[in-house]
């Protein structure tokens, strides 16, 4: 079974095949004698990565980031981050003679006078949207499968930071061309900053170099966009990947796959080929979208002018949810002591995103505090086997999704013939009620799926063969599932409710954190409440035993009918199973 892991391309001795050095070996030898990488490479070159489609979502983000770097560098060769006033005299006739900023004029130049410039602009924009979208689905995959648990909490935090920075990077990029939409976005951002109590006006004046719009914002955002944030992103992505290599990838449980090993294909050559090939795929899909789907037609928006606006003024999708919160917020603005408290802006756009990101980063710590689980976990959990965790994220997603929809309320209104006022009123209630309902449904759904798993484990799977008993009753024939599937279904932890220590020690003195421990125990009980635990060996044996009995009768008695107990609640009646679990044994 085990492939010879000793076959490494480099070693301290030099070539892989010492007696007859080939070219690769010679290069590796040359490099090793100067860099001494042999020892490290020895382990990493055949490093094992498990194979599953959902493990490639983070790769989409990584590769689209590379596409962003490549296309972004191309764009900087022509883009002028300047707000100097120029009169456009380029190729696009409908704006010829119009006053605009140099930034806008150079963006038009890239679009109309640089061959492939428009393609690169559109690829850059699509890649940015995909970058953030991929980070989000990667985050959801990691959360729903429990891959954030010890020892990977810090990588979760790094990932959350990447999402935050990616969003900021996207917003600064959206603002650079200085077209009508990006200028409207910057103006709104000015309004956001000014809503901050005490420091807001100062923040705005410092950022804009004076009153809005000034002539500093685009050069400053440019530096942030091409230097500051990409630098931090690169460093964090490096750390993210290093930790991935150090921890080794998580894997799904299954025959031969345990907490102590990682089963899959070696980096060299299989994963190099798969991941490298995927880079070209991501690049190719971005190029296809950039070539076929027009995005952000700045020549139609025209240059930014503080007196103009267009219907459908929206930020890019990743800023849509705070924008939605802004739209459905009631107009809570208060005036005291000669000051203005603009809660209608401050709460949804400054406080809410900060709060959401804080919650996001704390999720792993929150869960391990509640459950008291401090073990290392390398096997993934199916979302159904952690109902409360799954439901928590579904509820957060519902909150996010509703705000997102609220951010597109005007487009929804015209496309579905509804009233924006009605949508807004609905959303004001739905963002609170919706997540609660979603939590409840998702949790019960998970538990039902757990029940289904247990039923499959104890009674076998439904064959679709309907049998009629002499009494005229109908029942479905169940057949046992394969051993490896049965093992996979049972390869999960039993839930252990956290039990606090004594609240007081022997002398009646409260132990530190005693009361908090009580809360923790209560939360822990709620966290696991109603979950279905996997059957014990004895329960399974019993089910197995009865099934064998049934099987024997069936084999002998020409279509001996099922007894109908398949439809019983299996809660305490495992003895009614009629089929052997491991058929043929």
């Amino acid at each position: 079974m085990s492939i010879d892991t000793s076959k490494v391309a480099t070693s301290n001795k030099g070539a892989a095949t010492p007696d007859k050095p080939n070219k690769v070996g010679a290069v590796a030898s040359w490099a090793d004698e100067r860099l001494g990488l042999g020892t490290a490479m020895k382990k990493q070159i055949r490093k094992v990565f498990p194979d599953h489609w959902s493990f490639m979502l983070g790769e989409v983000a990584l590769w689209s980031f590379i596409v962003l770097l490549l296309t972004g560098v191309f764009l900087t060769l022509w883009f002028h981050p300047s707000m100097a006033e120029v009169t456009y005299d380029g190729s696009y006739s409908r704006l010829r003679g119009v006053e605009m900023s140099d930034a806008m004029a150079s963006t038009l130049h890239i679009s109309f006078d640089v061959r492939g410039g428009l393609l690169m602009r559109q690829m850059h924009h699509w890649a940015a949207m995909i970058f953030i979208a991929a980070m989000m689905i990667h985050l959801l995959r990691v959360y729903f499968t429990g891959a954030f648990r010890k020892p990977r909490e810090l990588n979760w935090v790094i990932g959350s930071l990447l999402l935050l920075l990616g969003t900021l990077e996207g917003f600064t990029g959206y603002s650079l061309p200085d077209d009508l939409l990006s200028g409207t976005g910057i103006r709104a951002a000015d309004g956001f900053m000014k809503s901050m109590p005490l420091v807001g006006t100062y923040m705005s004046f410092l950022l804009f170099g004076g009153e809005f719009p000034g002539d500093s914002i685009i050069p400053r955002l440019y530096t942030v966009h091409v230097l500051l944030i990409p630098g931090i992103l690169l460093a964090l992505i490096g750390a993210h990947m290093l930790l991935l290599v150090f921890h080794k990838h998580t894997q799904w449980p299954g025959p031969g796959r345990t907490e102590e090993n990682v089963v899959g294909f070696p980096l060299m050559p299989v994963y190099m080929a798969k991941a490298g090939g995927f880079f070209f795929i991501v690049f190719g899909v971005t190029a296809l979208m950039g070539g076929l789907l027009g995005i952000n037609p700045i020549w139609k928006y025209g240059p930014y002018d503080p007196t103009k606006v267009t219907a459908g003024s929206q930020p890019d999708w990743y800023m849509g949810w705070p924008d939605g919160a802004l739209r459905i917020m009631p107009g809570w603005e208060f005036h005291f002591w000669g000051h203005t408290f603009a809660f209608n802006v401050f709460l949804p756009i400054i406080v809410l995103p900060g709060l959401m990101f804080t919650i996001l980063m704390l999720l792993p710590f929150l869960e391990s505090w509640i459950t008291g689980d401090k073990r290392e976990h390398h096997l993934l959990e199916r979302p159904r086997n952690a109902p409360t965790r799954t439901a928590l994220m579904v509820s957060l997603m519902t909150f996010y999704g509703l705000l997102w929809a609220a951010g597109g309320n005007d487009i929804i209104a015209i496309k579905f013939g509804m009233s924006i006022n009605a949508i807004t009123h609905f959303m004001r209630v739905a963002v609170f009620v919706g997540p609660a309902i979603a939590f409840f449904i998702a949790r019960r759904w998970c538990i039902s799926l757990q029940r289904h798993d247990e039923e499959t484990l104890l009674h076998g799977y439904e064959t679709g063969i309907i049998m009629r008993s002499p009494e005229g009753g109908y029942s479905e024939k169940h057949l046992p599932i394969s051993e490896s599937r049965a093992y996979t279904l049972t390869a999960r932890d039993r839930d252990e409710v956290y039990v606090p220590g004594e609240e007081t020690d022997q002398n009646g003195i409260p132990t530190p954190g005693g009361r908090l421990a009580g809360l923790r125990a209560k939360l822990s009980t709620l966290w696991y409440a109603d979950n279905i635990q996997k059957p014990t060996a004895a329960e399974l044996e019993e089910a197995h035993h009865h099934a064998e009995h049934e099987h024997a009768l069936q084999a002998a008695g020409e279509g001996y009918p099922a007894d109908g107990h398949q439809f019983d609640d299996f809660g305490g009646t495992h003895e009614t199973s009629e089929q052997p679990l491991r058929g043929g044994h």
Partner: protein, 374 residues
């Protein structure tokens, strides 16, 4: 199975069953072969497939270069199905070239590279106890050596001095703001300029873009004018000083107005604003009081003005009152008058700051804002 107490198995993944586990780990299933492993025909075919994809990719690159040099851009785009041929051609050929390399490589990995799953052992993230003990010991020795614990004076002054280095970093950002901003009576804080616009008594209302003044007789009931003060469009005739660059943009961003004419009977003037309209013509700031989007989505029958950014809705027949949405304040109204030639003019600047709220904004109710004719 996944209990962490399980003793480490051998690299193949065979782990002895733990008593309470219902089913023992059956170990990795037996490896099955792919057609390409056992059949030379399919192996060769897969090989040809991969190579064909790489070759096709080369063809696409050639096409890319051809498109680059043949498809015109500029003011004379070559079009293809009504689409820009350059963008579409370059995009599709580049995409095809890249996708073919990607697909070929993945196909190579899937069909021809070894698909024996291999297993690697994991190790806990933590270091061994000996290593940890050694590190702690060294930390203690290093700390002892430096005397950082024994010499609190040095330690505290060091912390203080390094901490204070944050101050230059912060202070040096101060000049990000307007460099000539001096605290004066007129400019008590940087945002003081937000309280005024370029409107002043007697300034004509002109149409945006074209800059023509608006005569009262020009407008019919239901008309909407996106207006500006004439200072934004300086000409020889109006004698306004020329405005450029930042000053122009700042002025525009605060002074834009909407002028609408409605049936005078529809207007409910605010307290002290009885004479701010001219024959049913009213003028409001175009800058939303929410976060500052320009608004001119006017409904002539309801007199409602909607903001396209966040849907705040204002009633222009009722002092710009908020009727819907997240805005917290009514839209500032510009007091109008008419000059000798019949042109619309302002009676004064706005009587309150326009645009979004800010901390220093001293908000007063309609009626407490003083006279328009200042």
């Amino acid at each position: 199975m996944s209990d962490h107490d399980t003793p480490a198995g051998d690299p193949t993944g065979h782990v002895p069953a733990v008593p309470e586990e219902p089913i023992a780990n059956p170990g990795l299933p037996e490896h099955t072969w792919r057609p390409t492993d056992v059949d030379e025909h399919s192996e060769k075919r897969a090989e040809r497939q991969v190579a064909a994809m790489y070759l096709a990719s080369m063809v696409c690159v050639v096409l890319f270069v051809v498109v680059y040099f043949t498809a015109d851009i500029g003011d004379n785009w070559t079009t293809f199905l009504g689409l820009g041929a350059s963008t579409v051609g370059l995009g599709v050929t580049l995409a095809a070239a890249l996708l073919l390399i990607g697909a070929g490589t993945i196909q190579w990995a899937r069909k021809l590279m070894s698909d024996h799953e291999i297993s690697e052992l994991r190790h806990p993230a933590r270091s061994s106890d000996e290593d940890r003990a050694e590190v702690l010991e060294k930390l203690a020795a290093g700390g002892e050596d430096s005397g950082i614990g024994r010499r609190p004076l040095i330690r505290n002054t060091l912390l203080g001095s390094v901490g204070l280095l944050g101050a230059p970093a912060l202070v040096m950002l101060w000049d990000l703001g307007p460099t000539n901003a001096k605290v004066t009576a007129e400019q008590p804080y940087p945002g003081a300029g937000l309280e005024h616009t370029v409107w002043s008594k007697g300034m004509k209302v002109v149409r945006d873009v074209v800059g023509t003044p608006v005569r009262v007789s020009d407008l019919e009931i239901g008309d909407l004018v996106n207006g500006e003060p004439e200072a934004i469009f300086p000409t020889q005739e109006n004698g306004q000083p020329a405005l450029h660059g930042v000053a122009l943009q700042v002025a525009k961003s605060k002074a834009a107005v909407v002028v609408v004419r409605m049936d005078p009977g529809d207007i409910t003037p605010g307290e002290g604003r009885e004479n701010w309209s001219v024959d049913g013509i009213v003028c409001y700031s175009k800058i939303c009081t929410h976060v500052g989007c320009p608004i001119s989505l006017y409904e002539r029958t309801t007199h409602h003005l909607l903001c396209p950014c966040h849907q705040s809705t204002f009633d222009l027949s009722d002092s710009g009152r908020v009727v819907f949405g997240p805005a917290g304040r009514h839209l500032p109204q510009l007091p109008l008058d008419v000059d000798d030639e019949g042109y619309l003019i302002a009676r004064s600047d706005f009587t309150e700051p326009v645009g979004p709220s800010f901390w220093e904004r001293d908000t007063k109710d309609i009626g407490d804002q003083g006279e328009a004719d200042l």
